[in-house]
């Protein structure tokens, strides 16, 4: 299906990452944003609020907090609108509660986290990448989730559409993990015509209304969705539930449900994995990075190559589910994997796990507040070659 042209601001623009993400959401067909102001993500909400009346058929609301924002977009999605919210670290923590409800109810939605330095209030106006494990495990209980990391305003636009498409396809909340640098940097953003934007439609139930079972899985493990008011009256709950959506309090039902919630993502991990590879063949060292760190790493990689070192690059656009297959394979063919991230080891430990002793893993940590020093990444590459 192609994008609805009403939401697509076709043309070449000069936008920051936050504004580009808002345009990406509108182009993807998002028509409901409930949010709460927080630096450095607020501009997404501001742009959406300004644009949505003109796009038509949508609404923006500023809720009383992030708990409410997340709850409201779950409601919006169940009433048939593509829905999103946007926040940063402290708000992300509050959203974890209803993110879990979204996972349990299998609600397609997009949550942007424009990461800043933490813990707690941390550095509101400066970048971080330290919410990556919270993105994976932040809500209680066991689950799989999708998280993607743009590294430029153009990608903020492009990957918002991808995020909505993933969320619809797999009926799972999808996280767009930006950072303050990507959110606030201003670059050229080209928005294509609507008929060049591919949209994954909601997996809507079309059978007889009285036969609708909200949690009867299809062959691909994903149940058909409906919307309130379409005649398919349904029940949904955060409790462990059967195919009818009714609560069932026992271990068998828990096993069936949680297993499916995990497997519907895990078995599709290779399909969800968006990776950018460069000069991997014959490389001795491969630098694995995501978000703004991928761009900061470029001069370090170039410098190493000028010195004749064989350095490849693997950029993770999809971080969750972790692109395990590719990293395992890679570890068998190189001496070392070097990982710069703005934290003291988060995605690094996933890479170390997948390397399984086949390659050295070198973490280049940074607490956030600014991007890495190129020299530190270069030193990490040298360390990997020792």
């Amino acid at each position: 299906m192609k994008a609805d042209p009403k939401g697509v601001l076709t043309g070449a623009h000069y936008l920051d990452g936050d504004h580009a993400a808002a345009e990406g959401a509108l182009a993807a067909g998002c028509r409901f944003l409930a949010g709460y102001p927080i630096t450095p993500s607020t501009e997404v909400a501001e742009r959406f609020a300004a644009r949505i009346p003109k796009v038509g058929g949508g609404v923006f609301i500023q809720m009383e907090d992030e708990l409410a924002s997340m709850a409201a977009i779950l409601g919006g999605a169940w009433a048939g609108k593509k829905s999103m919210t946007v926040t940063s670290g402290p708000g992300f923590s509050l959203m974890m509660e209803n993110l879990g409800l979204g996972i349990m109810m299998e609600v397609p939605l997009v949550l942007i986290n424009v990461q800043r330095g933490g813990p707690s209030t941390g550095l509101p106006t400066l970048p971080g990448q330290a919410d990556m494990m919270q993105a994976r495990w932040g809500s209680h209980g066991d689950y799989e989730i999708i998280a993607i990391c743009p590294s430029s305003p153009q990608e903020a636009f492009d990957y918002m559409i991808t995020a909505f498409n993933f969320s619809e396809k797999y009926r799972v909340p999808t996280l767009v993990m930006m950072d303050e640098c990507v959110g606030h940097m201003t670059e050229k953003v080209v928005i294509p015509p609507a008929d060049e934007i591919e949209i994954t439609p909601r997996k809507e139930y079309t059978g007889p209304p009285e036969e609708y079972l909200p949690y009867l899985p299809d062959k691909d493990m994903i149940p058909w969705m409906t919307k309130a008011g379409d005649g398919t009256r349904f029940h949904t709950t955060g409790l462990t539930h059967d195919e009818k959506g009714y609560p069932v309090m026992n271990a068998d039902c828990q096993e069936t449900l949680v297993r499916r919630l995990v497997d519907k993502i895990r078995t599709n991990a290779d399909e969800i994995a968006i990776l950018e590879e460069e000069e991997i063949d014959g490389a001795d060292v491969v630098l694995i990075s995501y978000g703004i760190s991928s761009r900061v790493a470029i001069p370090a990689i170039e410098r190493a190559r000028r010195e004749g070192l064989k350095v490849g690059s693997l950029r993770l656009v999809t971080v969750w589910p972790f692109p395990e297959t590719r990293v395992r394979e890679l570890a068998k063919n190189v001496k070392a994997l070097v990982i710069p991230e703005m934290n003291y080891g988060q995605v690094y430990y996933e890479i170390e796990r997948c390397a399984a002793g086949n390659a050295r893993t070198v973490l280049v940590p940074h607490a956030g507040g600014w991007v890495h020093d190129v020299d530190d990444i270069y030193a990490g590459i040298k360390e990997g070659l020792k």
Binding site: H19, L67, A71, A72, G75, W78, A228
Partner: protein, 301 residues
């Protein structure tokens, strides 16, 4: 009686087996049936009703009724309901909550929902206790009354739910009790018909947790207490505060008109779409964004 059976058959889910999770003597069934009678009288189609709840005994209410029903997280029913209503305004949206759900963990959502005046209805089943978790004191447990976490009597003071809703700006506020079951369904009906945010407090009894801890002899005795200790709002206006001590008032407390959120939002949106001056305003906002971007990097082009 046959009409009651007919209503029950129409609105209770055939696929959901009874009995309910609620204890014998619980007032929640009376609230549920009053809600059903009210919806039947308003005449709205089952497909067009969404009932949202949070957590606790009242949280289980939607499971039994044949509408679009959503059982959400503790305290968040109104926030969730807000999303449903904004995304599909044609739905009649009802949030059913207990006192802990609506006023403790959900207190902030409650007052902001009152303030926003979105056309939906909040039912607060007030039994003055956390029933499902076994009798801990709640924001409406009266001063001095016992809960398992107030074993010597509650040292805190209770919210007056209706006054709180009125003070926060709800445009329809009413209260009755499960003893006054007929009055309750009339008030629910008025609330659902009201254009704007409506709150109905349904005073109810939790014999299992509250009653036993506070020396009530039986559920029936608790209903009798409601009968003997409630005063219609109009009559209460003529009574001294001393006479009203320990009693609650019943009836419609607030009923006023105020622009409704969705109507105001849509008016604004259609003005923006049709009015050339307004279209220009949107353009100006976008140009301001662009100008800010230019300032950040003057090398653009």
């Amino acid at each position: 009686m046959s009409e009651a059976i007919e209503t029950a058959r129409t609105y209770l889910r055939p696929s959901k087996k009874l009995p309910t999770v609620w204890c014998g003597g619980c007032g929640l069934g009376i609230i549920l049936s009053a809600m059903i009678r009210a919806i039947a009288r308003v005449g709205v189609e089952k497909n067009d009703v969404a009932v949202v709840s949070g957590i606790g005994c009242t949280g289980r209410m939607p499971t039994y009724v044949d509408f679009n029903t959503l059982h959400t997280t503790h305290g968040r029913a109104l926030a969730f309901a807000t999303g449903i209503k904004l995304a599909r305004p044609s739905l009649t949206v009802i949030a059913a909550m207990g006192d802990g759900d609506a006023l403790a963990i959900g207190g902030n959502h409650f007052i902001h929902a009152c303030r926003r005046n979105i056309d939906m209805t909040a039912i607060v089943a007030n039994n003055s206790i956390y029933g499902m978790t076994g009798g801990q004191y709640s924001p409406t447990t009266p001063h001095g009354k016992r809960g398992t976490t107030a074993p010597y009597g509650n040292v805190e003071h209770a919210f007056d739910v209706a006054s709180l809703a009125a003070g926060a700006g709800a445009t329809f506020v009413a209260r009755s009790s499960v003893y006054h079951a007929r009055e309750l369904d009339r008030l629910f009906e008025k609330a659902i018909r009201h254009k704007g945010f409506s709150v109905v407090e349904a005073v109810t009894n939790c014999y299992t947790s509250y009653g036993r801890l506070n020396n009530h002899a039986s559920p029936v005795e608790m209903l009798r207490w409601m009968k003997e200790n409630s005063v219609p709002f109009a009559a209460a206006a003529k009574m001294d505060p001393e006479e009203l001590e320990g009693k609650f008032t019943r009836g419609v407390i607030v009923d006023r008109e105020l622009p409704e959120f969705i109507e105001s939002y849509d008016e604004q949106a259609s003005a923006l779409a049709e009015n050339p001056v307004a279209v220009e305003q949107v353009g100006n906002i976008l140009r301001r964004f662009d100008a800010a971007a230019e300032r950040l990097n003057p090398k653009s082009g």
